[in-house]
Amino acid sequence: MKPQNLHAHEDRLLDFIYGELPPQEARAVESHVEGCDRCSELLAGIRGVRTTMAQLPMEPAPEAGLDSLLAYAQQAARNAAAGPAPKSTWWRRWLMPAMGVAAVTVFGVISVQVNRALDLKEEVAAQSVTKSAEEQPVAPPEPAAPPPSAPREDAPQAERAQAPAVPQAATPPPPAPAAKLDRSLLKKAPRAKPSTVGSKGSRSNWSNAGTGADFGDSGKKAKSYESDRRDAMTQAGPFSKPKPILVGSAPEEEPSQAAMPEPAGADELVADDSDEMFGGRTAMAMREQRAPSPAGAPPPPPPTASAAPMPSVSTSMPSANRPAPATRDESKAEKRRTASADLLRQADAARSAGDRVREVQLLRQALAAGATGKERLGLLNRLCEAEFAIGRRQAAFEACSLVLEEDPRSSAAQVARSRLRREGMEASGSKAGSGSRGPVKAAPADKMEAPAQAQ
């Protein structure tokens, strides 16, 4: 028998022994085995092994883990009955990581943008503090003798007082008039805004003045200020609560002035509204210059009628465009708008004619005429651009900075920010001459006027 046949035969014997052959074949194999000694021997050997190995008893399965297994199966059965789980397709497998990466990227971009904005503000604040620290020796003593533990309190006040002279220092005007103006303003500055000092001291932390924290607050309160300013323009009565004042922030000082007692009548209050404009602030400075103020005078008394704002008159504004005192806020606002629009048209004409210097003057007059809100921001942006165009970078920087301070979230602020960036003045300001740059928040009208006068 060939080996292959032998193996096939043994395989049949295996099938026979394990009962896997059909009955007919099983009977055939059985009859063959009976007559074949070799197959009989082979079959006996297999049976002997099987008999011996059968002595190994069946082990009972352990019960350990059976309950947990059944519980797990029950839960799986419930899930199966509830319906098949959604099959994770390839795009689902990739979508989640992609979304995660996108979210992280967006967060990163936003963080960078916010950090840039904060850096710009901190830079402006640092410049304000530096400037005030430089000018502190010439600043008059504070009326309310600040404690030595809060030296920064002096800085912003002196900053406000010195503000009108800053642009003159930045530009090449004759030094003597600038110094004269400085001194006169220094004497009158404490008296000019007594209520702002008081309200500021009561509402804001002076130790944070000039720091990022304080500027952060200004950003948060920008909107509330807007509503307050509207109230100041529309309400005749005094404010019941003082408003927080920022370092040299012209708009922030307005509500405080409005909070003062108002014995001068509605006209004065209406006129006071214009103080938030450049012209208004210029008029305030001039008013203070005209007012009798003996040198070394004691700190001004609490807000009185004499300390109340006077009707603002812009020195650089033509007399025909001066806003006449009105009894109604609406009529005054309308006049402002008319004057501002007229000046803006003239500025457009000057720009078309290529006379950027004239355009700057007209823009400043339009600002002084009392532009508010977006119109004011737009004028400031245009002013910034025009100043850059005629090479007065310091004045341009101040105009753009005012936009950033007054409404840092507006589109106008974005434009101003990008313009500053383009001009390389976004980070440190050293290119613009940080040493000569004054606190941009202080008395913007005066500062805006200075370069124009320098011409």
Partner: protein, 200 residues
């Protein structure tokens, strides 16, 4: 299994009650280690639950079940070999140390007395386990599946992933090896209890 796949938890319990012991004995005799066998048994049923969605009634449930168990046994054996744990050749039972070289027939009373027969079987069992453990893995799995689990050669071929002829060839080698090993141990099939087999 189809009922469990459809969400019937009781069907699974029925399957477990029916197949748990045969599967455990297969795993125990494949691995030769009780603790490992219990772990592999639990893993096997967990895998049955997890894989219920993929189950298709193309083959018998037992074939599918023993395939899972066999694969897990192979994995476990590989892990164990990496750990260089005790060899499958080592004695797995107790009391086999001094009786290894002595024929089981010596000193035993004649067949008939039940206590003596019980004592004989108690001494025989470790020898049988050692003989089984001495087989190569591929022969042992075929023998265990056919002899103790009652799986037909054709199904064993499916479980192990080889042809039926290969399975029968391995079975022949396994039977031949066991016969020689048992003879070396002095175990005679005729001395076994009543000459009966497990499945035959």
């Amino acid at each position: 299994m189809l009922a469990f796949k459809a969400g019937d938890a009781r069907a699974f319990e029925t399957l477990v009650r029916r197949h748990r012991a045969p599967v455990f004995n297969f795993i125990l005799r494949f691995t030769g280690h009780r603790a490992r066998a219990e772990d592999v048994l639990q893993e096997t049923w967990l895998k049955v639950v997890r894989s219920a969605r993929e189950y298709e009634a193309k083959a018998k449930f037992t074939t599918w079940l023993f395939t899972i168990a066999r694969n897990l046994c192979v994995d476990s054996a590989r892990k164990e070999s990496y750990r260089q744990a005790s060899s499958l050749e080592a004695p797995t039972g107790n009391g086999a140390g001094g009786d290894e070289g002595r024929p089981l027939g010596e000193g035993l009373p004649d067949s008939g007395a039940s206590p003596e027969r019980g004592a004989y079987n108690a001494r025989l069992r470790p020898l049988i386990e050692r003989a089984l453990a001495s087989l190569p893995e591929e022969q042992r799995e075929v023998f265990v599946l056919r002899e103790y689990s009652g799986i037909a050669f054709k199904e064993i071929a499916e479980v192990t992933g080889v042809s039926e002829n290969t399975v029968k060839s391995r079975m022949r080698y396994a039977l031949d090896g066991l016969r020689r090993r048992l003879a070396e141990m002095g175990v005679d099939g005729d001395l076994a209890e009543d000459g009966r087999t497990v499945t035959g």
